[in-house]
Amino acid sequence: MQIEATDRTPAITLTHNPLKLVMAGESFPEDVSAFYGEVITAINQLATTASGKLEVEMAFIYINSSSIKAMYRIFEGIDAYRQAGHEVQVLWRAEEDDDIMQELGEDFKDRFQALNFTVAQHG
């Protein structure tokens, strides 16, 4: 899966070999369900369509509240893949001076404590 970034939506890439999910950019789609539906469905199907270690990398600049709701669904799907017995590694990247994204990453880390979750800042 490969979705190009727009000025309202992030770039999203999901590859099976290697198994990796990358999301980066800004997120305030006009219709959050429509935009994230495909991604959430694909993540929920990982347990049956993929195997092995899943690497997740997320780097958001801005994310609105509805998108956060969608992110919960994505993390739930990722956690379900872990629960199916696979290794999962999450890297949440926030820009160096972006406290909001940093704290949001910490919130997700706190909610999904079973995930190998790293919050990092980058310049």
């Binding site: 369900s33 509240s65 956060i68 969608a70 909001i100 704290e103 919130d107």
Partner: protein, 349 residues
């Protein structure tokens, strides 16, 4: 809604629909099992809600901070703009308006570059200024000089002149750069301006006399058209937008040779305005560095004034309607002689 359309709240909506059915028809065990799932879902929703609210608050705080910064910056920019505007207005008094406007529009290049252009150059100064100045109180001298410069500057700008500089009581300006309407139109604008200046001087002289200035300023004007070097002269630290060249000196010499209250123009200028003004040829002047004698002409007035039709009509049978410029010179002379003879006979009756 189509079934394949994803809904972020599908699980919650499903739970609500299920709950409604169970509450209406479910057994005690079914209700208990549902309550447990509902509790689990509700717990997650509360956590999500907490996170969302916290995130929303952080975004709001950032917006408030950004808004404050924006207001501060807007205020600073407004103060800066106001300072610059004041500075611009002050600078405008030291620069030719065309240059000032071009500078502030970002269209003016302050490189030390000059170009050779055919310009019409104007010089004026006040006759016997030093002696006149000595006869006046300094305060009065300042008042009359300001009056004089203000009036002349307004006329110059209204004709599109580029004011080069004020040199003591003298004014140096030119037409043809940075804007030009063509050599002919530039020269005509300059001569029209000079005529208006001398006309205005007559009004000012009357006013000054009424104010007690019994020997008011009288100005001489010299105008020449020719190739000059125009542009930025000087250094990177200090530039002067001006003109230089032999033709500039010619204009100055013409001014020095001009009758008080008059306008003396060179042949080059006259060639551009010969249908505009009546002139009287004066003695040529020569100038060091200029390898030709410069023919000079004193401007007597606008041609259209003298070209007005001569009309005389009387019910007793007199009707004269003549356009002198449309007549040949010998015809004009003949008609003038005949009219004089008729006038003489009429007087003698």
């Amino acid at each position: 809604m189509a079934e394949d359309v994803f809904d972020l709240y599908d699980r919650e909506k499903l739970l609500l629909a299920e709950g409604q059915a169970i509450l209406e028809h479910g057994s005690h065990e079914e209700i208990q099992a549902f309550a447990e799932r509902l509790f689990d879902r509700f717990s997650k929703l509360v956590r999500e809600n907490e996170d969302l609210t916290r995130h929303s608050d952080r975004q709001e705080q950032r917006l408030v901070k950004l808004n404050r910064n924006l207001k501060t910056q807007t205020l600073e920019l407004e103060q800066q703009r106001s300072r610059l505007e004041g500075l611009s207005q002050q600078l405008a008094k030291y620069l030719p308006p065309q240059i000032h406007e071009a500078l502030f529009a970002g269209k003016y290049d302050t490189q030390i570059t000059t170009q050779r252009k055919k310009l019409t150059v104007f010089f004026s100064d006040i006759k016997e200024f030093t002696r006149t100045a000595e006869s006046l109180q300094p305060e009065s001298l300042t008042e009359y000089l300001n009056d004089y410069f203000s009036e002349m500057t307004a006329i110059a700008l209204s004709h599109g002149a580029t004011i080069d500089k004020y040199i003591g009581d003298a004014v140096m300006l030119f037409f043809g750069d940075p804007e030009s309407k063509g050599v002919k139109e530039d020269a005509r604008a300059c001569v029209e301006m000079a005529l208006e200046m001398q006309e205005r001087m007559l009004v000012l002289q009357r006013r000054w006399r009424e104010q007690g200035f019994d020997n008011p300023f009288v100005i001489r004007i010299g105008i020449n058209t020719g190739y000059c070097n125009v542009g930025n002269f000087g250094s990177d630290q200090r530039l002067s937008y001006t003109i230089i060249g032999g033709e500039v000196n010619v204009a100055q010499r013409l001014e020095a040779n001009c009758d008080p209250g008059g306008i003396l123009i060179s042949h080059e200028t006259y060639a551009q305005v010969d249908d505009l003004v009546d002139v009287e040829e004066r003695s040529s002047v020569s100038l060091k560095g200029i390898d030709r004698n410069i023919k000079t002409y004193a401007v007597k007035g606008r041609k259209q004034e003298t070209d007005k039709p001569l009309r005389l009509s009387h019910p007793q049978g007199v009707h004269i309607d003549l356009s002198p410029l449309s007549l040949r010179a010998d015809d004009r002379q003949l008609i003038a002689t005949q009219l004089k003879a008729l006038a003489q006979r009429l007087e003698d009756q």
